[in-house]
Amino acid sequence: MVTLDVRPQLLDALSALRDRVAAARFPLPLAGAPRARANRDELLAQLDDYLVPRLRQPDAPMLVVVGGSTGAGKSTLVNSLVGQRVSEAGVLRPTTRTPVLVCHPEDHHWFSGMRVLPRLTRVWAPHQESADDLLLPGEDGRHELRIETADTLPPGLALLDAPDIDSLVADNRVLAAELICAADIWVMVTTAARYADAVPWHLLRTAKEYDVTLVTVLDRVPHQVVSEVSRQYGALLTKAGLGHVPRFTVPELPESAWGGGLLPATAVAPLRNWLVHHVQDPGSRHYALARTAQGVLDSLKARMPELAGAAASQYAAALRLTSAVDTAYDAEYTRVRGRLQSGAVLAGDALKRWRAFPLDCTAAELLDALVESLAALLLCAVTAADERVDDAWRREPASEAPELTDREASPESTEHRIGLAVRRWRRELEEYAEDEVRGLERGAAPDPESVAALVATALLGGRRARSAGEGLAERIGAHGALRLRDRAGRLLTEHLDRVLHTERERRLAPLDGLEVHAEPQAELIAALSVLQKER
């Protein structure tokens, strides 16, 4: 058994682990992601609300959380244990919407600060909720915790009345789970009508998994059937491996029902005595606290690898998505190169212009046509790549992430970007041509624009533009023609690479924005192993 002394190294390891858990993200909608997210939140809540504060301050009062199904009579039970009406009870479900914490006035300072349950806003004014009941807590996205003091409770004991674990209000369910995670002692309340329900049993099994200090209360049992129901329930518990759990039975009394009244002290005396004993007897108290803390620490051994596994699968999915994009763009790049080689640009309009050049077509027109044709080729390649990516992503569940699906669908802007790039290439090409022509002697200098057009044709036309090369050589000399062609060719490759690279980056940007990396997995495991060493 771990002793409950303050141990700085352990606390350091634990808070490091907590930070790792808090940093873990599961943005891709994989099959296990919602579960991983829930696990992460639950673990974080348990660390923040329970484990760290408890290990830091072993002397803090013992927190007993009363949880159970809707209508199980949790509030009535808490009221009866305290001996006064602190929590609203009623016939309408769900009754308790704001959790209520009751403690001895001396212990008030333990809970007024943000030591435990830091996410809940403290509400001080008691019994005012009826006035502003219209504003349901949780509607504005934050929860509240009402703190009551009662000197009928022994010092060192705090009771927390949680909302229903199976509430129709989904927010309440989350809150209930969070509160239960914060408990030193779990009190599960069920009733004669409910003891076979699936939801509470799920919670009981969780309690067993974490090996927490657990108490079950079978509430609202009609007098006639007390023994039978109790026996049944006991049998079910034993079957589930929870036979050792203390079991208390509270009969159904007229007061218990629907008035929100208090049960007579005798009805809840055994439970109260048990709790008081565990608070006041140092041995029992220590045992109860240590057991829950130990259980939660132990549970980390299984839960952290689970989180790490989820993080790893996130990363794997992100890799698959990225590689789909890469494959598509690589394939298209190869295709574009091949097409350029074979002179696909010199087709259609451009080819007709070339055939008419120079008699029926000016150099500027030919260049225009070529540039347009080149832009069309690039646009075609990019959209084809995007289509391939879409196809590949459709098979990946991870691509359903909203960040990935709502990319602006504007082929026009792609067209615009490609148009810009191609026009810049043309401008630079014309500058090269002018450079080359300037070097020639004045008299024989040909028109730089027609030189540019011829170079472009020779570059983009493949085999069928062989005569363009010849014409070029004739005009500026074989040497100059070769040099110009080389420079222009390099320029073309450069622009082509840049265009496809930009488009690929744009496609990958949302995925990069999700920041799914390989590190969290390793970090989670490392944090766990550090913690294990410290224990």
Binding site: V91, R93, S167, L168, A192, A193, V199, W201, D349, P358
Partner: protein, 722 residues
């Protein structure tokens, strides 16, 4: 207090025969046939049991065919066993059953006939099949041609069916009175269920919809709709006089207690041990419902009879009550049972109690998804005796609020919707009211059809994403034009037109130009390399069409066409476009080579010879003037400077003048020629694209529109419009 197990297990294979008999009865309006059957029935009750083996054998053959419709049929233990088991459990029950057995039931009376007469059996079987496959009047004449043999197919289609069912209802009412008067008669003639016109047409539309979409959607998407259709067909074949109502609820809410209270007898085990009921139990208020119960897969040993009492019988006649296991206990198989049976019953009574009425499981798992079934739903707040005073009203209001939030329409103020009641099965408070409501509900006999309608609604709603997007779809005129433009770009129509125009103009200029200019040009040509000088037609390029432009054009048009379509159909449109685009560039290549320029020599305007003649005259004038001058210089001719100079000047000025005016005049024809060339190419490309891409896409869109219309009919929107 007695409870009796329903005896007529043999009904499974009798439905068709029932129909046969009723056809006869209803048409001929003869009573003596019924009495005949009644007598036969007396004899056969025992024979049936003895021959139960044979009966089962006889049924097996049918079961293989009908297994889809009555999944539970195979689970029945041998009839003999059932009879035995129940004889042990309820000794008096047997007697009671016998007593009731003597009452005539035309349905049962004929049960041995098809067995003894294989031909008749086959006929009846065929009738069943026709009934299963007939969709809204496909076999209208069958009943007329062979009224005794197989009326099943035509039974509830068309006008005759309506008339028949009305007649049947009228007769039933009469029969009911006489039977109540006569005492002990509780057998309802089991007329198969009829759906009203709108529902039938919706079912037909759904069937057609499923058929139309099979090639486009995967079977998983259509499974739910298929199930609804199957269930609708199966339910239609079974008794329409009975209403199957299930009692569902959480563990400990008092379902069994309420069941017993309604039946007036302690049928279902109640207790504090949770969960109590582990298998569904059926209780039928009248005979002829066994096929219905078979369908639910409830074995014979779990079938019961309510206590005998005249008014209760009359009130709840036709009710088949099913007590279900809980849906929220830790026993998972209970939940499976509940889910299975809930899909098959006609109506559901949700039993909740003050403790559990707000359970998330109930609302999220059942009430919200089934909100569309509000009309066949009762929500009963049980155990109000545990609530003090006005608390019951509060809880009931809260329950109504929760139901409202679930989207369940509440049947208040005469509007259709779920009925919400508070009662206590323990003290009997409110049971009478439930009985009354239930009795009325059962007497209406509309529950099964309403349930099926709600099922169709739900299935249609679930299929919504694959059929409707709420956006406009279709291929606009602009998109088509744009596609044609892109194809024209791909084959280079504009450039070709311009080139043709310029070439023509050039030729015209050359033809009408001065001979000196022509001479100079000719020399120029000889010196220059022949780059680009060759006529366009001379060189047949391979791959003259810009592949990338064609690809992009097809992609754009398919994108436009599939915008606003649900995913599967958009995919289909895209595939059609891509399929059509295969070979499109090659076709355009050929086309460009063929239709590039107008065939034959370029047309010449009528004034051309005149212009050439004028040009020749000018040249002649120059020559004549020149020669004349030369002659004067040489001295051959008389010196006269004026005339030859004038001639020469006229020739020199007139030549370019003629050329210039010809150039002006040729501009118009040249443009026409170029435009003609462009238009030819453009139209050829557009025609090619239309035939290969646009038409398949349009066909796909049309198919979608058809399906969309069919879907509208399923949701009932189109039905009103028709």
């Amino acid at each position: 207090m007695t409870a009796v197990t329903d005896q007529d297990h043999t009904d499974n294979d009798q439905t068709d025969n029932d129909r046969t008999d009723h056809e006869q009865t209803d048409h001929e309006q003869t009573d003596h046939e019924q009495t005949d059957h009644g007598q036969t029935r007396n004899d056969q009750t025992d024979t049936d049991r003895k021959n139960s083996r044979d009966g089962r054998d006889g049924r097996d053959g049918r079961d293989t065919r009908d297994s889809r419709d009555s999944p539970g049929a195979g689970e029945n233990p041998p009839v003999g066993e059932q009879a035995q088991g129940q004889a042990q459990a309820q000794p008096q029950g047997r007697v009671d059953a016998e007593g009731r057995g003597t009452v005539e039931d035309p349905a049962k009376a004929s049960c041995s006939e098809p067995r003894s007469n294989p031909g008749a059996g086959a006929g009846a079987g065929a009738g069943t099949e026709a009934g299963g496959t007939a969709s809204g009047g496909t076999a209208p004449g069958a009943g007329g041609s062979d009224p005794g043999g197989d009326p099943g197919g035509a039974w509830d289609d068309g006008l005759i069916a309506r008339r028949v069912s009305e007649a049947a209802a009228a007769e039933q009412a009469a029969a009911m009175e006489t039977r109540v008067g006569g005492g002990g008669g509780n057998a309802l003639p089991s007329t198969p269920l009829t759906y009203d016109g709108p529902l039938r047409s919706r079912l037909d539309a759904l069937r057609e919809l499923v058929g139309l979409s099979r090639t486009r959607l995967d079977s998983r998407t259509l499974a739910e709709a298929g199930r609804v259709l199957d269930e609708a067909a199966a339910r239609r074949r079974l008794s329409g006089q009975h209403t199957v109502v299930a009692l569902a609820g959480a563990t400990g809410s008092g379902k069994s207690q309420l069941f017993n209270a309604l039946a007036g007898v302690n049928i279902s085990e109640t207790g504090v041990r949770r969960p109590t009921t582990s298998a569904p139990i059926a209780c039928s208020w009248s005979d002829g419902a066994s096929t219905l119960i078979d369908r639910l897969g409830i074995p014979g040993r779990l079938r019961r009879r309510p206590v005998q009492s005249q008014d209760a019988e009359a009130q709840l006649r036709g009710l088949v009550l099913i007590d279900l296991p809980d849906h929220d206990s830790a026993a998972v198989q209970h939940r499976e049972q509940v889910d299975r049976v809930l899909a098959l019953v006609d109506a559901v009574i949700w039993v909740v109690d003050p403790e559990k009425y707000a359970d998330a499981v109930l609302h999220e798992r059942y009430l919200r998804p089934m909100a569309g079934h509000a009309e066949v739903m009762f929500v009963v707040l049980n155990q109000v005796d545990r609530l003090p005073g006005e608390a019951a009203e509060l809880v009931l209001d809260d329950l109504r609020r929760l139901l409202d939030e679930d989207g369940v329409a509440l049947g208040e103020y005469g509007e259709p919707g779920a009925t919400v009641l508070a009662l206590s099965a323990l003290t009997g408070d409110g049971i009478g009211e439930l009985r009354e409501v239930l009795g009325q509900f059962v007497t209406e006999r509309g529950a099964a059809a309403r349930r099926i309608a709600a099922d169709v609604d739900a299935a249609a709603w679930r299929l919504r994403p694959v059929y409707a997007t709420g956006r406009r779809s279709g291929l606009s005129e602009e998109a088509r034009d744009e596609f044609a433009d892109r194809l024209a770009d791909a084959v280079g129509a504009t450039a070709a037109g311009e080139a043709a125009e310029r070439a023509w103009l050039r030729n015209a200029n050359r033809a009408c130009g001065t001979p000196w200019l022509r001479l100079w040009r000719w020399q120029q040509d000889r010196r220059d390399p022949p780059t680009g000088r060759l006529p366009v037609r001379a060189q047949a390029d391979d791959e003259a069409t810009a592949r990338q432009r064609v690809e992009q054009a097809v992609r754009t048009v398919s994108e436009r066409a599939s915008a606003g379509l649900p995913t599967p159909w958009a995919q289909a449109v895209r595939e059609a476009a891509v399929r059509g685009a295969q070979g499109l560039p090659e076709a355009l290549d050929q086309l460009a080579a063929r239709a590039g320029l107008p065939p034959g020599r370029p047309p010449r305007p009528g004034w051309w010879p005149v212009a050439v003649l004028a040009q020749a005259c000018m040249t002649l004038l120059q020559v004549v003037g020149g020669l004349w001058l030369l002659g004067q210089i040489v001295g051959v001719m008389a010196p006269n400077l004026g005339v030859p100079v004038l001639l020469m000047v006229t020739g020199i000025i007139g030549g370019p003048l003629v050329e210039w005016s010809c150039r002006l005049a040729a501009r118009g024809p040249a443009r026409r020629y170029g435009q003609d060339a462009e238009r030819r190419l453009r139209e050829a490309a557009a025609g090619c694209g239309r035939a290969r891409v646009l038409d398949p896409v349009a066909a796909e869109l049309l198919r979608y529109r058809e399906v969309r219309e069919q879907y509208g009919r399923v949701t009932g929107v189109g039905a009103a419009a028709r």
